[in-house]
Subunit: 433 residues, 2 copies
């Protein structure tokens, strides 16, 4: 529709054609209103029954809610209309009638279970507050990519069909690949590392990852969108700087460019992340958790942070924070240990007060140490030969991290369930749509 | 390395630390040079043997090619050096030694088969002309996304694990998903259509697609990166406008921002796409193919364009061009037919003179026609209920298209094999790295 005008751009005095969904019809007797909704908002269409063509009135007021119509006519100021303007229609065309029985009410007046919403995502996304979540998600991705380019990263795409998983055989979905066994990749980890050994040096990727985790919780997904970063010639401290930079860029961009969306979601006072993220060592973190008195069992060195511990620490700190220098044995083989204390790794996590967001660290770039690390974790280095052998030809020191965009959306917007941050989530029960 | 300087930024008079790979060592007797390479270029490091610390000379000149080193010292002008400057080292550290035997020569002096190159992508990407391809690819993605945002598109991510394929059971990789049969998605087609029926209206996605095609040719991949566009309230003509716009934006951005990379690849006269792409109907296209006299067998109405026909037409036209109004029976069920001639569809292809790039069209948005289309193509509409049922609740007229970024890179840069445009290609024989 070459000449279609968005409702938000219809100005008094214009002759326009608008098109969208029938949000509501209010019939007051001699006068009636059709509220038409499109991606940009809503506009009132006025029907003065006695003064207008009978067929036009009949079609316009007889159409069912959520049908798609286009309306042509003059835009006039009307202070009593919801947006201050209204259209007096000269013509109206029904482009796609809707069944009067809808499986979900897009006006949001009737609450729906998350499961019904996900089964009917098309209708669910006609609610402007749901639309707002996904517009904010898109803005986060845009801002993060822009930040990556500012710090000299090249965008890469690594394969999603792989012969071996990043961390061995667990949590992988098997594929039949022309008669061979293969898997859907659980992380670009090994591939992005191979690229920092090339002239690209510093790379990012935003793409899907697949984890056959049995969890079915409000914060886990079996398919997620991962933001991955990896760079040669930096250590874990500099990797944390870049990580903090991307998140701050995302919050800043959302604050600047998504005011309307934030307002719909109840954030009239959304604040960018101005403060530096505190960086605690793992040792400091467990001491601080124990000092809160909020955990049933005191943590001892070597324990992972439980959900309960994360919650206690998050409430105590009240902002994003890093935890560094984790025990080596709870970090994967590709994380480098401190040379002067092999029990201590150069891995880090970035935590939001509600949950873990990021895993990262300085990587082991020395061939012998890397192969020894595989063996320590019970993995067969031969299976990863395509990866390890490149470490024999000049692999620079490097560091990186990854976070799922869904958890960023979820924590930024205070969503209860991570499924609200994904158009078509995949979990143990849900494979369709 | 907080204070590392890229070689391209080392200016005479600076004291710098540079880090990278040992590209070459030239020993002339009393004087010797180490050429150090990083992501931005190369720099000469000078060793005057009699005037410098013996250990420093021994380490610097004893290191094997492709080892990773960092060098600190003063930058001086030196007209005879390849970049006009050189470093006199005060210290040199070997960060990662390389085996003297390399499986691939990153200097490019020794040719390698594509298969050896792909087995050793890390080393292959130390050639600056290979690096250039992937920097251009990243710039194409950046420019296309920017264009999409300029025309009001929202970025979406649709699932890659699905219960049914877009076009039925063929060419799908099966997955075991928690004991259920599932597939890797061959296209976001159905999901992006579901989104144009929501308030998002106009969407794009750049992500992986998976096709279990048996082809093993220089232009087919089993995993590719697809650029998908779909919009409500437009027809196929407007979809072609957006398609042409994205490609022109990509060429323009590469012309403006990748001069050095183009030059490395031999394109000193790279031209953006300024002319409008001709739009031929299918009927005009087959007539024109037949008139070239370059095809063994004359085409008749209903034939698909063979590789031979595409080649003849491409040479005749000599630029990108669209072919519109294809026979309905060779287009998929979701493409709308002309109401006044159901044998003729509103599908289109965008062709580069060398090959097909894009498939697109006006979609069928009317529920009854859509379900009839499924049946005509021998598909069971019940299996696609999650998709078809949304067409009963107000699905606007819409159109869209998709193209693989690899084919754009391949045709833009005149690459012989599509595998040169993918970091880690997947084909019938290749599953690793």
């Amino acid at each position: 529709m070459q000449n279609r005008t968005y409702t938000a751009e219809a100005e008094p005095g214009d002759e326009v054609t608008v098109a969208g969904w029938v949000h509501e019809i209010r019939d007051l007797g001699g006068i009636a209103f059709l509220i038409l909704r499109d991606a940009t908002g809503k506009i009132q269409v006025k029907f003065e029954k006695d003064e207008m063509d009978e067929d036009l009135v009949e079609t316009g007021l007889g159409v069912s809610r959520e049908s798609v119509v286009s309306v042509s006519g003059a835009v006039e100021e009307e202070p009593r209309a919801p947006t201050g303007v209204e259209i007096t229609p000269e013509s109206l065309e029904v482009l796609a009638p809707a069944d009067p029985e809808l499986p979900l009410d897009p006006s949001g007046k009737v609450d729906a279970e998350i499961s019904t919403r996900l089964d009917n995502r098309t209708l669910d996304l006609r609610k402007e507050e749901v639309q707002a979540i996904f517009e904010i998600r898109a803005e986060i991705l845009r801002a993060v990519r822009e930040y990556f380019r500012e710090v000299d990263c090249t965008e890469i795409t690594t394969p999603k069909i792989v012969a071996t998983g990043t961390e061995g055989g667990t949590e992988l979905f098997p594929i039949t690949y022309f008669g061979q066994e293969a898997f859907m990749n659980q992380s670009p980890q090994l591939f992005k590392q191979l690229m920092v050994g090339s002239n690209l040096e510093r790379v990012f990727e935003i793409g899907p990852i697949f984890r056959a985790e049995e969890h079915n919780t409000p914060r886990h997904l079996n398919e997620a969108t991962m933001i991955d970063f990896e760079s040669a010639f930096i250590d874990h401290h500099e990797a944390m700087d870049v990580c903090e930079g991307t998140l701050k860029a995302a919050y800043q961009a959302v604050a600047e460019n998504c005011e309307a969306q934030l307002s719909l979601l109840g954030y009239d006072d959304f604040e960018p992340l101005d403060e530096s993220f505190p960086r605690l060592t793992y040792e400091e973190a467990i001491e601080r958790v124990n000092a809160t008195g909020e955990v049933d069992e005191q943590l001892v060195w070597g324990d992972d942070l439980s959900t309960e511990a994360e919650k206690a620490l998050g409430e105590d700190i009240g902002s994003h924070y890093f935890v560094t220098d984790w025990p080596s044995e709870i970090k994967p083989f590709y994380i480098q240990d401190h040379d002067d204390d092999p029990d201590l790794s150069k891995g880090f996590d970035l935590m939001h007060p509600r949950m873990e967001l990021v895993s990262g660290g300085q990587r082991e770039h020395r061939y012998e140490n890397l192969v020894a690390g595989f063996e320590q974790q019970g993995l067969d280095p031969e299976q990863f030969d395509y990866y390890t052998k490149m470490f024999r030809y000049g692999m620079p020191p490097h560091a990186g991290w990854a976070y799922g965009v869904e958890r960023v959306v979820m924590t930024m917007l205070g969503l209860e369930n991570i499924r609200e941050a994904v158009l078509f989530p995949r979990d143990r029960q849900r494979l369709s749509p």
